[in-house]
Symmetry: C2
């Protein structure tokens, strides 16, 4: 039989144990902060009927949706974000208690060109409120972002805040016809990837005159927060968010069609990977399913990008190098039953314990513990067995000590952090 090449698709990642340790630690922080504000978890399917997802993100985004016919000939699509599935859920289960405060942590798929910080499969950590039009809601979501990034240990990040009303008012002042406003906003959205001249060229290609383009930038330049956004900003202060970490930014646009009110995103200076979180208010999206508008607001943290920021800036140093806390060595088949018993006893004491899979030379087992960065090794060989003692060795310092069999669990527990 010929062999198959072991490889992954471009834009799709394996996460090996050391990477998973960072992801898990980060997820724990995110989940704790979300739950501390009373948000509850939701999961939705990977595949949806295509019409559930399409026609809500905008034309450019729709092209990036993974879509195919399943074996039953159904037109299906893979989750592109967690917001549209939430809107579908809110419409489908109308007896959900409102405000429905939910969080959701699941992968999404976009057939985008892979690049730094841009993957075809990535994990979003969303937090949304359905059924509240209070500006406190929008402010609470921004506060949650602030808390997550602060708890991670970020010293530098900025939440840029704007609103669709600010943008639409500026378009009106620049005399852009109403039905052209969204396409202008989509070009403006590219200002963080393209130079201003690039955005101007794109607007020209879309048929806008030089004077119109000049008017757009002039109007954006003198824009002020609309009354609702002003209230959101006041609530941020009330919630104790340090004003060094957010600012009103009238050129922030966000590309997705479904936003209707305040919009926000978080950026860092290093590394250059675009926004690490984004969100906003989308009061008309649930109505696409129900015919009735329903206030809604949310934000999403991009797990992989935040991990990139943590790793590239060395924020956490070396975390959790090994799940296993102690390796129980096996030197002699005649002592197998005793070492198996010892390993079970250590586990029952709450110590994460690995038993070496077969009798082997101690050197081999020390080498294995070293490679896996296991902090301690416990040896119960023929010499130790004579006196019912266990040799416990600290793999880092090299120090070792003989401990009686019935005290070894307590002794090792005392060595652990």
């Amino acid at each position: 039989m010929s062999t198959i090449k072991a490889r992954t698709l471009s834009g799709f990642n394996d996460y090996l144990p050391q990477q998973m340790a960072v992801r898990q630690h980060l997820l724990k922080i995110i989940q704790e902060v979300y739950e501390s504000y009373g948000f509850e978890q939701l999961n939705t399917p990977t595949l949806e009927y295509a019409d559930v997802l399409l026609g809500k993100y905008g034309q450019e985004a729709d092209k990036l949706v993974y879509r195919f016919n399943d074996l039953g000939g159904r037109d299906v699509a893979m989750r592109y974000d967690l917001t549209v599935p939430l809107a579908r859920v809110a419409a489908q289960y109308q007896d959900l208690v409102k405000p429905f405060k939910r969080y959701q942590i699941q992968p999404v798929w976009r057939a985008d060109r892979p690049g730094k910080g841009r993957y075809r499969e990535f994990t979003q950590c969303d937090v949304d409120v359905i059924g509240s039009s209070s500006p406190l809601t929008d402010a609470e979501l921004i506060t949650i972002l602030y808390e997550v990034y602060t708890r991670i240990g970020f010293k530098q990040f900025t939440v840029r805040i704007n609103s669709r009303q600010v943008l639409f008012t500026a378009m009106k002042e620049a005399k852009i016809p109403e039905d052209k406003a969204l396409t202008v906003i989509q070009s403006i959205d590219k200002l963080d990837k393209l130079p201003k001249s690039g955005v101007e060229a794109e607007l020209k290609a879309k048929g806008f005159s030089s004077i119109q383009i000049e008017n757009i930038f002039a109007a954006l330049g003198r824009a002020k927060p609309d009354p609702y956004l002003q209230q959101v900003l006041e609530h941020l202060e009330m919630l104790g968010v340090d004003s060094a970490f957010y600012r009103f930014d009238p050129i922030l646009a966000r590309g997705l069609d479904y936003y209707t009110g305040p919009i926000f995103e978080t950026v860092v200076e290093e590394p250059k990977i675009g926004s690490i979180s984004a969100g906003g208010r989308y009061d008309q999206l649930i109505g696409r399913f129900t015919g009735k508008s329903m206030p809604a607001c949310g934000t999403s943290i991009g797990l992989e990008r935040v991990v990139d920021v943590i790793v590239e800036n060395g924020i956490w140093g070396d975390i959790a190098p090994s799940v296993t806390q102690v390796l129980v060595a096996q030197l002699d088949p005649a002592l197998e039953s005793a070492t198996v018993g010892l390993s079970q006893e250590l586990r029952q004491a709450g110590i994460r314990t690995e038993l070496y899979h077969e009798s082997a030379k101690l050197a081999t087992q020390l080498k294995y513990a070293n490679k896996k960065q296991i902090p301690f090794i416990a040896v119960y060989g023929p010499d130790e067995a004579k006196n019912e003692m266990v040799l416990v060795k600290d793999m880092k310092s090299g120090k070792q000590k003989l401990i009686t069999l019935n005290q070894v669990a307590a002794y090792i527990k005392g060595l652990l952090p």
Copy 2:
């Protein structure tokens, strides 16, 4: 704009917050047990090149793989299990320290006919060892299953244990040609879904004579564990697994092609949903990528089925009815800043706190807390504010008490479990 019907695909589930609470609690137990044996987490992509997945499970299984051409024309497939992706990882990253003890908890997709306990998207919780041919490894994996189910609180379950060697020996005794053995095993595998007569009919349709079929069942009836399996069973005793919860079962077959040694699965009497976990040894699978055989063994717990067993047997009663521990009411817009401050103070004390999104009648907010089963409500209205007191009400007993503002966090913390 016309509305879109909010609906999900058959075989795909939403998991609402109360269901997620059960799933999360179960995942915590599974993860803790896996890690207590020193297993580390891995994640692999949802999509793989189709040739990575196909041709390893068997013809019937291959038909159930979700497969399509992506936008770049690549022949891709959705993860069908976690074992083949692990084999691909073991082949692709050859410097992984062996034995590589990994666990992996991710959804998989099968275009099967949906039914009770059978979904098209479901979550597998896999635990595997790559690089060990010790019978202790197989036994440790079965011990892990035993520990997970015992910790959940299952009073009744059986791990059925057999091996491919036992089956092949029986086929030889029944004079079945070697190249026909696997198709017979695939029919035998259906004995837990079909009556014996149904399996006999299927074997007849496959061209086996009545005498051959009789011989097959006779040979299986007198089968004994092979020497390797015998050692696995001895190690189970050594590891302290109660023999009431496992048994040698020569008619256990498991459908997947890739198994080469011991195989096992866990069944419960109620509800009738097929196996809740399955696994075995697959020493030739990694060789499909590398050309060299590599010992490997693993098992997989089906998350949704285990949840079904927990829920249908009422094993956990009512767990975690609400993430939020206290609702801070808002009665008066003039006190908004103070209630916002109170809610932040409670959160900082480690209490999961929800602030009602806007000023409203107390009755409305009590109704909301009731519906969401939030255990406590804290009221700081005009009357309470006069004396800088907070009214804390236990929603279940109806008891309430006035507490001074600076002691309320400590007081509520004392009420929590």
